[in-house]
Symmetry: D3
Subunit: 245 residues, 6 copies
């Protein structure tokens, strides 16, 4: 195993160092929760809106629902990308991330305490520099917490639907070395790319590891998970600090 603190990455970080993380609450005022989350140059606007209805498959369940949509603004990337609404269809990648965000945030909430309400999470990437999905999940948790608090303030909710903080980080193998929180430059050339979603009690919500340009051994998998735990711990602190303000 490589010692991840013994090398310096292109942006000056050592292997297990996160980029600066900033979480700004109340970024916009219309949604019940609205957060700008930044992982270095990656900037995602995460909102949580409340809709007083539930999808058809939840009718009669007595439970609420949480759904999520992820999208990138066309000018978020270095090269402008065509707008999905104009193409008339959503790319597979977008669908996949939207579903991941939804699953991850549902781990943070007790649907049976939501009443017949739907919380709609929107994660819109204003600027992309790698790790947009993990930033989205991390920021969306804070927006969700704010939305729940708002619903309780309004008296819409009497129970406590919020179960536990959820955060996410990317890890990868670059030139055989474990790196935490990959920016675009690393992400695009990583041999292995892994997104890890955790709860603050150290449980996994989701682990997605992909050998984009190579495969990985059980030992490397363990190193990657170790690194992800380090990153998530910092993210839980940043979430807690933001929510304490």
């Amino acid at each position: 195993m490589t010692d991840s603190s013994s090398f310096v990455r292109a942006d000056g970080r050592h292997g297990l160092e996160m980029r600066p993380v900033r979480i700004t609450r109340g970024f916009t005022t219309n949604p019940a929760g609205s957060v700008l989350v930044e992982f270095g140059n990656t900037r995602v606007m995460c909102t949580a809106s409340v809709e007083e209805r539930i999808p058809r498959f939840k009718l009669g369940s007595g439970e609420g629902w949480l759904t999520a949509e992820y999208s990138m603004l066309p000018a978020a990337t270095h090269e402008r990308m065509p707008r999905e609404s104009m193409r008339g269809k959503v790319k597979g990648r977008t669908h996949e991330i939207s579903r991941l965000v939804g699953r991850s945030l549902r781990a943070a909430i007790d649907l049976s305490q939501l009443g017949e309400n739907t919380i709609a999470i929107d994660c819109d990437v204003l600027q992309a520099d790698g790790g947009t999905r993990t930033a989205a999940i991390t920021g969306a948790y804070v927006a969700l917490a704010d939305a729940v608090a708002e619903l309780k303030r309004r008296g819409v909710l009497t129970g406590q639907p919020l179960r536990q903080p959820v955060a996410a980080v990317s890890v990868g193998l670059i030139d055989g070395r474990v790196c935490l929180d990959l920016p675009y430059e690393e992400d695009s050339r990583a041999e292995v790319d892994m997104n890890v979603i955790m709860t603050d009690s150290g449980q996994f919500v989701e682990v997605q590891g992909t050998g984009e340009a190579g495969t990985f051994s059980r030992e490397q998998m363990n190193e990657l998970l170790d690194a992800a735990e380090i990153g998530c711990r910092q993210l839980f602190e940043a979430q807690a600090a933001a929510l304490a303000e």
Copy 2:
């Protein structure tokens, strides 16, 4: 004619007063020009991206092109609106405004000085409180000026494609009185709603007046245009100030 300074609006302004206007350059870093424009609570991210190609209908013309897309984030409005990419089609309103923004900005630029490049304007509404299309045009001009400057710096352009500043403002009749720069609360109950796009030499680029809930006389039309000229003059000052920074 009503004296527009003799009454006070719900937000404390008199009839011919603009909301506070803020123009933030360099809002994101990937596009050649990136601006956050605010008209009160209306906040639009305007970017100008350069693509080194031209659409088919311009091939062989020796000219460049400028295109624009306008969109609202789902949580920009008070009630969350379905995402157009998920619906699989773009609403008529979105199409209409995108086309308006494109036509308006083309008045600011000499396409024959662009080379075979396309400037893609994207206006994404982060928070909507009325006047999103006029804020979009006003901010997009600044993003366009930044993109042109950037192209000249890079040596891509040798000529001077920028012709003249373009700005836009809404005016309307509320309870029979002329009001400048309508927030959502006024916009939704205006008898007449007019969007005026001007150049800084006082020429009109486009005038779109609609009797949403009533009709309007020639005299009222003149009052509305007078009000719009007052608003646009302030916007040209705000644009110049931002570009001077």
Copy 3:
């Protein structure tokens, strides 16, 4: 100001002269109202159909609704255009005109007198030679009047939903001179193009002026509006004559 009667246009008209206008009622027999309107070579079939339901956003309002769709047959233009149904999406221009026709005709009608019925206006351009949207609005008013009369005959309506005639005309600046009712040849090279929708009491319903290839001064705007009023007066006469038959 140019004297608009002192020059002769390509088709022999002077500046403020309309093309021959013809309005044929009962063009087809299935819809409640069916009109063929001709502005010179521009020919539009306008129908008004009655549907005994209202859109969701009107439920419970006690009011009816009026909606409109505009479309061009593929062979209406000189070069055949692809059919929008085959492309699977509607062009921005089509959306924009459909919305304009709907707004304009709603000014002709008192929705609260319609009962829970929807009037669906369809304007299908059989032959296009400029001014298709203004011909559509002018013809659709007659189809609407016929549909309302039919509804009253059938006893579906007891009140009087028809408020006032609405007509529309295009004006433009060609080589700096104001021209009324532009055919395609002029429309495609106009510096400024304006569509004016009026009621027969001389009020404006909508004014859309666009500097397609130039800008326009306040003085030119006034000349254009003067010309439009002349055109609309003739159209109200043609509508009244057709309805008197």
Copy 4:
């Protein structure tokens, strides 16, 4: 076998009688051929436009192509039907008829004599009262003949692509009796409905017989084909008379 002349149909015709057929050439002026065809109250605008290109699958073949699109205006039927362009997709019935019209008209033409041109047939139903597809084919032949003549006049074509007249008629079994040229009232309750496309030498181009609400014997099939031949003979005369004008 029933004697088809011994009974009277709802509209006063005997079994083997066509509705009045009218073919108006030069209905519009932009397409190379433009015809309004009427079978009683069924009215279809048929145009033939020339495009100086061929579809990809014909590249290098040295041949031209003929394609067709059929569509119904929304207000053509008694109850208004949603516009296919707005629904975003074309119905199976529309596809099916478009393909039938294309196949039928290709029997009228020698593609090897067309040069690398495509003839685009458009059949737009202005008013529907049964038999729209057969009227469309019958009228489209005349539009095609006009388009070919126009191409020869312009010198685009030197050969003679027109091979033979093609016409189409519907026949059906109503209450067990053979009827020719069904209007909507009969079509909707026919036990068997058959569309027959023929050349003027008495050959079949296509036969489509459907037991909509029943099946049919070989003997009935023969009676239906006999009736269709009677109808087509009249249509060839109407086409010839129209083209002789």
Copy 5:
């Protein structure tokens, strides 16, 4: 008339000989009926699923409905074809065949005996070698019979909705000679192609004859129908044998 038994086809058959037909019931287990039908190398999976609802236009009729969808797997043909779900729209050919299968199978069933249930027929072509639509209809009848039996077993149906066996076969003219049950190699170069759907009492349900590359006389039509009757008789035997197992 050619003697159809006096020549040998590319695959060794004489003119009026069918390819080997195999019908495998219980091909999959989830649908109420599931059949693999093979006409030579053409292999189609036909299923009949029961849905306890009826489409809107049948509400209140007291009847059930039967609907059908036909599709080809992308790798069914020699050259892989793009998947229709990925293209976002269904081809005209697919629509046309789906509608044909639905109409044909509705002739086999008494909708008034179905209760308010819909039978959904799915015909998915696993391997295509000509005659996919006729194999689909022939196999779908067996799946339908199994589904009806299953519904009766479950007690959902008390009446007897099955009316009569329905089968289908293709016939064509190849080099002027009548051939039965065309494989792809013949189908693609046939002058005339005809699909005939019959009941086991010898009645026609549907006849679709197309002069793909030529026309056909009344005499040829009769020879083609004779051949189709020979083919269908064999198919009814194969269906009966499969259902007897």
Copy 6:
């Protein structure tokens, strides 16, 4: 840790036992490789087709490409599901699995040895009983191996693009116990569901673990991976046996 061999599952298996696996080569004959793979009642048709072109983003790379599409036949599941081609859009789940299959199979192949060819993998689920994506990947490898062999036989390929076998299996936590190869009944109530894609040298290609209804500890993750390794070893044997036939 639970002893996974000490309990019996609903279908009689112990925790670490696979369902019977069958791999049938040459299932259809048109594609270069065609395999039917069965994991118990889950049955997937996997084909590998060769297209002599590469996607645009690979032009000039000198490499080939491999793409994959996954789809479920509408009657594959217990309740029939709407066909995606008819809905006009592909579900997120379908997109996600298609992308997973493509990534996984690209690990089995050296694109630089493919020439400018694309291998298109199609996985169509004929019958679904859990684990369709893992069966698809496992079967698709065999189809790919056959397609490569076929290309070499034809002389299209001279190098050896096949790098290593790839197989996939699902594991999960059911009532807190690790289970291998989940059928639908278990999959739908698993607390944690993990799909593991491996090479036959024991490296991971992809790991996707999801806490569908719960979270999971690092220890549970390790148990799940141990189980997956056991399953994959059996699958590599089944692939090798099939390819040896």
